[in-house]
Structure formats: structure tokens, C-alpha cells
Point group: C2
Chain length 493, copies 2
């Protein structure tokens, strides 16, 4: 039977994703091309069981001979990265025993326990608060077990608690403006079904959150990237894009942007909302990491939410308990007009129906005034220590790599030293015992090849060891010796 | 700003959905047309903020004058069911204060507490088992809080427990064949992204589960209905459809089919899998209600799962804790080949990331041999009592309505008496204090207008009162007096 995957990749698309694979002195063209394709598969950017273009098409798109493409495909078949059937085409594959690459950013659970996962930005739970909140939730459960448990908009007690947090942040909000969702990702998927038609444009920051870009692709949307400046949002570029590309919506992460950590100022927020209102563009503001402010002074004077600058349904806000508290909870929310909330709740049954009752009750306890300040202080202290350890390790082991120290969020966005491609690094690093997200996952159409995202979600000693391994992987790519250091003993998660 | 909905309905589609609205003697055509459109909106079959066809197009499709359509639109505008803007078109709307209709089947949480919800087939939780399992899960939680909580394929302990259940049912299964999901609905959405291309065909039973049909629409699939016989699956029609329509996949509910309650025999299973294997069609078997077998003798000799007749990846199975235990859990699973499981897990980050840890631990306890038999016995006894109460009430209050008593599942599929349209009944019933799912929600293209689905998920006395109200609603449609009875005092959920 042919593979059951729906995926196919076109020749032009593959040409863009391969980038400048034909470097002079890189050896025979067919081997370099095979290597480039192998990297795309291993890095998860071309999913397994994706149909590749016919040899003739790809040779035309790349400007190489058909023999080169045929030889590259043959090499990949020999290695187990390609399977073909006469008359039916060729599909990407994985050699037996290779861990499955992931689309988007996701933990590499299939791999060996010996490899450090620097791929995802998610932390251990804040204890004892999480267990305490869960115990309180279970104690309350009997009040809910006599219901069918199906509340598409969420439990009113939690909707109220989330609304109160917005009000406290300077954005008066009622529970009818809140819907509880399956994390911010479930919120995004649900929202896309309602507001984006296939083939419509969606403006995104470049870089942006890898999983949101992937969700946009599944929704059939066309991402229009607007590059971020080193220190913030390019408002002229945004105004131009909203006006000229007329995107249906724009997806933004104004509060400790993922992956760069940038924070949008109030002036920028005001200008962006005004621009979007004038073009009728819906702004989707992802606030997943807003609570992870690592500068105590800044925490006391945080900009108001993007939606605070909106007066007419221009801004929809996505939030989540996944970064503030724990990824093992899977509770998120949408803040929107009551009308849109009602529509989203009415449409939820065919996606994920409802959110689990116990988790909702637990998040309500975590958000309560007698628990939240303590939890936030604990989380911020911990993340700050982890960030500082990562910064120190990168400066020590990867001296040529550059980055900006973020004031919040969970990751460094790092420009690699010359000659180190993020995709090649990501695939090589696995052999050196570390997984890392390459830059192109956070971009549209294979750009950002010189970047990697390094989350600081792990304990300092694990982070340090991960960076040491990453440096060894980078050295193996450039031929330079890694900065020497003894390998410390660590206990991995 | 124009509405942000992506929805539009074509003139031909609307013609089909309206059915035979032009009955002789029904009054002025424009009023009857407006009434038909109003019913479609109130019944949730044309969502709010859906763009309607231009008057000229609709008049051509319906074979009526443009004046008739214009007058119908004008009446709907006056009533608040339509909003128009010159040059931009007309969108469906709801008068202020009307509860939002739902797409698919979902609880009417927005409505008054005085209305009985016969829309959804979901029950109160089995106590004390649910609370006990949750408490045990929270006690185990500290072993997991040191992880990031993100396990795309699910916790291995639960994957193993689910696999063991399949093995016990005659289908040897390992944990690598199981992925834990956000209910069966989350499993279906995730699977559709991998295996169905937009515009590809998917064969479905007619009737089928309303929310799955809606999810298919969102996936861009084209549903090909295969009518069920009164007592089972029409294997000739299935073989013909698989051969002639060459659908990419078929979605089936062989174990107490929703909504009819039918159970597929082992012979039918064997034949269906063989037919699908020969045409290369993927069979998606939804087993959500398999545990709700209401006949103790049958429970001891249940047919083996559909996948037991498969030897090569033809069948993917969806399961859920939502009906067996409680809808407030939101835990489901997929059983498939290890390769497909790895691909689905690798692709999950952009949809719903992972499932909540505590819920997974609780479901593992509910599935454990020291708890499951007791819980199942309790659930089956309860559902049997509820079913018998519903059967009795329908026979008493709605004597002309016909149905087959199901051996399992959670609903009666009832053919209404002559002259009672399911859609009209659904909208009228709300005024009589009961919500009910009309037949066309369970069909493709507006068929099954003479049916309603009546779940037996509520306590007997509530069910009885709901049917009494339904009979009053039906009487108001036909003009016949309802079977007289005093209204009992009930405490609603």
C-alpha cells in the first residue's frame, strides 16, 4: 500500500528549503543534494512520507542535470531515506531504528534517555503548589460529577478567574469574554477554523513560534513574514504589510516574543492596533509567556495587554497555563468579544469538545490571590537562574555566537558562528547527545538558516552540559576544535 | 467591520438543506422561505455569520421569483436573523437575547437552566470511582512534576493499560500501537490532518455521528454517505462505494453505532475489512461507545474489534474514556501501526501538544482490573435503566414514532410521526423547554429530516419530562392535541 500521508512537497518549495546547497568545494553535486535532502528530513522540515517531486521537475527547479537528481535519490534509497514505487513516485522515509523527527517543536520522546532535549521550552512543575492545587481541585470535584462534564466555553469559576487577571492587568474583562481551551494551541486551531479561509494571508513576525506557523499551514493560510528588528517591531513594515498584503489576520507575540524574548512597548502596541483597525485586520495576540518576566523592576511596570489598546474587536488574545504553571495541565484560554466567544464555543464539539474539569479547577486555584504571587515568584526566580546559566554557557563554549539577553520568556535566539547552518547543526547535534530547534522552523520558507533557538527550561547543570555538546557538534561541522572542557557528571531528567 | 466568519453557503447547498419547503397550503412563499431559513439558523445547520447567496442566485436555485427571495430576506432582517450591507452581502444573525445555536452536538450552556438538554449523549460521572481514581492520580503526581509534562504519544503507563484492554478483547496490542489523545474528537482531527487531503472523499454511514461529519467538513473532505439498513450494514452498498467512489477513508461506528445503536457482526466486520483492503481504503473505526453494552449475555460474547480482522494497517481505531467513564475527563486514544502512531505524535505540537497528566493517570486507574469491572457494571445498569425509561416515555407520549431498541450505546434513533420535521421540531422544542438534535445533523446534505436522536443519558424522571415536552412541541407542529398527562415535579440537573 502507498503511504497514507497527505503531504507532498513541490520542486520550487524544495529549492527554497534547500537554500544554497551547491557550495563550491562541497564535493559531488549528487552527494551534496542528497545530504541537503537528508538534513531536511532529519530536521523534520520535510515530514516522513512526503512525496518528493519527480526527478525531471526537481532538476529543472534546481538547475542541475536530471542525472544528479537521480543519483541523489538513489543514494537516499540506499540509505533508507527514500522509498519509491515505479509509476507512483518517491516518498521520504526513515531508516529502521532512527527516531522520528517532529513537525513543529515537540519533545523527542522516541529517543534515548541519554539525549538532552533542548527542543522544547517547557519546564518542570512548580511544587508544592501544583500538587496542592490539584488536591484542592479533587476535593471540589464531587460538586461537578453530577454534571455531564461538557462545558464548551469552560467552567464559569475559571472564566471569572481568568477575566479577573486581565482586569488586574489594566484590561477590564468579564467572564463572557473568556473561553477555556485545550492550551493556547487548541485555542489557535479553533480560532483559525472560524476566522481564516484557506489561501487567505496571515501576517506573522519573522521569526515566529514554530508550532503556530505549522498550525497556520494546516489551516490553509499563507504566512506573510514581517522581519523583527534586533530590538523590536518594525512599525513601518507592519503598516505597509497590513496595507499592501491585506492579510485577514496577524499573529503576534508581544509579551516576551517566542523565540526572541522581545517585549513590545505601549507606544508600539497603540500604533499596531490603530494600523490593524484601519485595515480591518484581526490581531491575534499570543500571551503564553507574559508571566515569565525575569526583571523584577519591569514586572512592576509591564505594558498593558495589546487588547487594552483596542475598542472594537480588533484584538483576540490567547493565553495559557502551560508556561506560567506547567505544560502537563493543557489549559489555555481565548479573550474576545462575547459574540466571538459564543461562536467559538458553539463550534468546539467537532474539534475537542470541552476542557477537563479537574484541570480547570486546579488552574483556578493557581490563579487565586492566595497562591499566584508565590508561584510567580518561584517560577521567575527559577527561570532567571536557568537563563543566566544558559547565557554563561553559550558565552563560554560558543564564543562566536551572538544573542540578545531577553527580559522574559523561555529562550535565547542565537545567531551561530559563520559556516554553521542551523539545520545541519540540529541533525549533527543528535549524534552529540543534544536536540535543538533549528532557525528555519521559526521562519517562513526556509529562511533563518543561521539561527537556533536555545530554551532555558532545564536546570543549570543540564543546560551547561547541553551547550557543551552543542559546541562539540558545531566544531564537527566547521572542523574547528571545540573549546576544551572536562565533561561534568550530570543526572538527566 | 464585516463579520469575521469564514463561512458561506451556496445556493445549491441551501436548496438541498431547505428540502421541500414549498408545501401546498403553507401560506405566502416568502414567509415559508423565511421560515425555512430561520429554522436552519436556529437549528445550527447554517451557522450564525454565514454569508447567504445573493438574491438572484438563490431565486434561480429555488425556482422562485427574485421578489420572493427579497421579501424573505427583508422579513429575516426585520426579525434580526439577517444583517446586510450594501455591496457586501447578507449574513445570518441572531436577534439579541437568543441563545447561540451550536454546530454539531454540544450542550446548550448558554441557555436557561430550565430547559432540558436532550442534545448531547453524555452522563454524570460514576461515583465514587471517578473521585477515587482522581485522588489516586493526584497521589502519584509528584513522580511526574519533575518532567516538563509534554508527552505527545501519552504516558507509557496509560498506553500500556489501553493496549492491555485491546489484548483482553481479542486483539493483541502493544503500547507502541497506542497514542493518547484529546478525546476521540481530538484523535479524529489529528488523524484527518495526516491521512485526508482537501477535496478527497470519505465514506460515512448515514446516519453518522454529527460531530465527526462536521470535523470531516473542516478537514475539507467530501462525505459519501452509505445508508444503514434497519438492522445493520449494507455490505453490497459498502463494497460498491469503496470500489466506485474510491474514498480515501471510511469512518465507521461498528460498536453500538451513534445514533442508531446497531452492532456490527463478526462476519460483517470480516467482509468490510476485506473490501477495504482490496481498494486500499483506510477504515477509521470509532469505538467510543463499545463499553456501553446493555445486554449482559451479549457483553460476554461481544464481537472482536474491527481491527482484529485486519493484518496490514487497514484499520485505525479511535477510543475514548468520555462515554465509558466521564466526558469531563477528555482522554481518548488512537490504535494504529507503530509507524502511524509515531507520525501522529510527531505532528501533534501544532494541534493540542499533549494530554493532561493527571487525567491520564486517573484513566489508568479506572481501566485497572481492580476498578474496571465494578465501574462498567455500574455504568451499564444505570444506562439500561435510562434507556428503558426513555423507551417507555416515547411509547407513551409519542405513540406514532418508531424506533429500534438498541442493545448498547447512548441514544434512540427515532422516526417522527408524519408531518413532523426534525429541524422544525428542534427549533420548536426549545420553546417547550427541551433541546434535541434533529436528524439532518447526522446526515449528509440535509437528508434524514424525519428523524431525531434522543439520548438516554439523563436520569429517568428527567428523561420522562423531556419527552413530555417534546410531545407538546410535536403537537404544536401538527395541530394534534398531545397525549394528556400531568406535568410531574422534577429537579433538573
Amino acid at each position: 500500500m502507498p503511504p497514507s500521508s497527505r503531504a507532498a512537497v513541490g520542486a520550487t518549495q524544495l529549492d527554497r528549503a534547500l537554500g544554497d546547497w551547491q557550495r563550491p568545494g562541497a564535493g559531488p553535486a549528487y552527494r551534496t543534494l542528497a545530504g541537503g535532502l537528508r538534513t531536511l528530513v532529519l530536521d523534520g522540515r520535510v515530514p516522513v512520507e512526503t512525496r518528493l517531486p519527480a526527478e525531471r521537475e526537481l532538476s529543472a527547479a534546481l538547475g542541475v542535470s536530471r542525472t544528479t537528481v537521480a543519483a541523489a535519490y538513489e543514494l537516499l534509497r540506499t540509505e533508507g531515506f527514500l522509498s519509491s514505487r515505479r509509476g507512483a513516485g518517491s516518498w521520504t522515509a526513515l531508516p529502521i531504528g532512527r527516531a522520528m523527527p517532529v513537525a513543529g517543536i515537540s519533545p523527542h520522546a522516541a529517543g534515548s534517555g541519554d539525549v538532552i532535549d533542548l527542543g522544547i521550552a517547557a519546564m518542570a512543575a512548580p511544587e508544592p503548589w501544583l500538587s496542592r492545587a490539584m488536591a484542592a481541585a479533587v476535593a471540589e470535584l464531587p460538586a461537578w460529577t453530577s454534571t455531564h462534564g461538557d462545558f464548551p466555553a469552560g467552567l464559569t469559576v475559571l472564566r471569572q478567574a481568568v477575566a479577573d487577571r486581565y482586569t488586574a492587568r489594566g484590561l477590564p474583562t468579564g467572564p463572557e469574554q473568556i473561553m477555556i481551551t485545550t492550551g493556547a494551541s487548541g485555542a489557535f486551531s479553533l480560532l483559525m477554523r472560524q476566522v481564516l479561509n484557506p489561501a487567505e494571508r496571515a501576517a506573522v513576525e519573522s521569526p515566529s513560534f514554530a508550532n503556530a506557523l505549522q498550525a497556520l499551514r494546516y489551516a490553509g493560510g499563507r504566512a506573510v513574514p514581517v522581519p523583527l528588528l534586533d530590538d523590536g517591531w518594525d512599525l513601518e513594515a507592519w503598516a505597509r504589510t497590513l496595507r499592501d498584503a491585506a492579510p485577514r489576520l496577524a499573529y503576534l507575540i508581544p509579551d516576551f516574543h517566542n523565540p526572541t524574548g522581545l517585549l513590545m512597548s505601549e507606544d508600539e502596541r497603540r500604533a499596531l492596533v490603530a494600523a490593524a483597525r484601519s485595515t480591518g485586520t484581526l490581531l491575534v495576540s499570543d500571551e503564553t509567556t507574559v508571566d515569565l518576566c525575569l526583571d523584577p523592576e519591569l514586572a512592576a511596570r509591564m505594558p498593558r495587554p495589546l487588547a487594552a489598546f483596542d475598542h472594537g474587536g480588533t484584538v483576540v488574545t490567547l493565553g495559557s497555563a502551560g508556561k506560567t504553571f506547567w505544560g502537563g495541565l493543557r489549559i489555555g484560554w481565548i479573550r474576545a468579544t462575547p459574540e466571538l466567544i459564543r461562536r467559538l464555543a458553539g463550534d468546539r464539539a467537532s474539534l475537542d469538545v470541552s476542557s477537563p474539569v479537574v484541570e480547570q479547577l486546579a488552574v483556578r486555584h493557581l490563579l487565586a490571590p492566595d497562591m499566584l504571587p508565590e508561584v510567580l515568584a518561584h517560577q521567575r526566580d527559577r527561570v532567571r537562574t536557568q537563563r543566566d546559566a544558559l547565557v554563561e554557557a553559550v558565552q563560554e563554549f560558543l564564543p562566536g555566537w551572538t544573542f540578545r539577553i531577553p527580559q522574559g520568556g523561555l529562550s535565547l535566539w542565537v545567531r551561530t558562528a559563520a559556516g554553521v547552518s542551523g539545520s545541519a547543526l540540529a541533525t549533527t547535534a543528535e549524534r552529540h547527545g543534544v536536540w535543538v530547534g533549528s532557525g528555519p522552523r521559526f521562519g517562513v520558507d526556509g529562511v533563518l538558516e543561521r539561527f537556533v533557538r536555545l530554551p532555558y527550561a532545564l536546570p543549570p547543570e543540564v543546560t551547561r552540559e547541553a551547550v557543551r555538546r552543542l559546541a562539540a557538534a558545531a566544531a564537527s561541522l566547521t572542523g574547528a576544535p571545540p573549546v576544551p572542557t572536562p565533561a561534568p557528571e550530570v543526572t538527566l531528567l
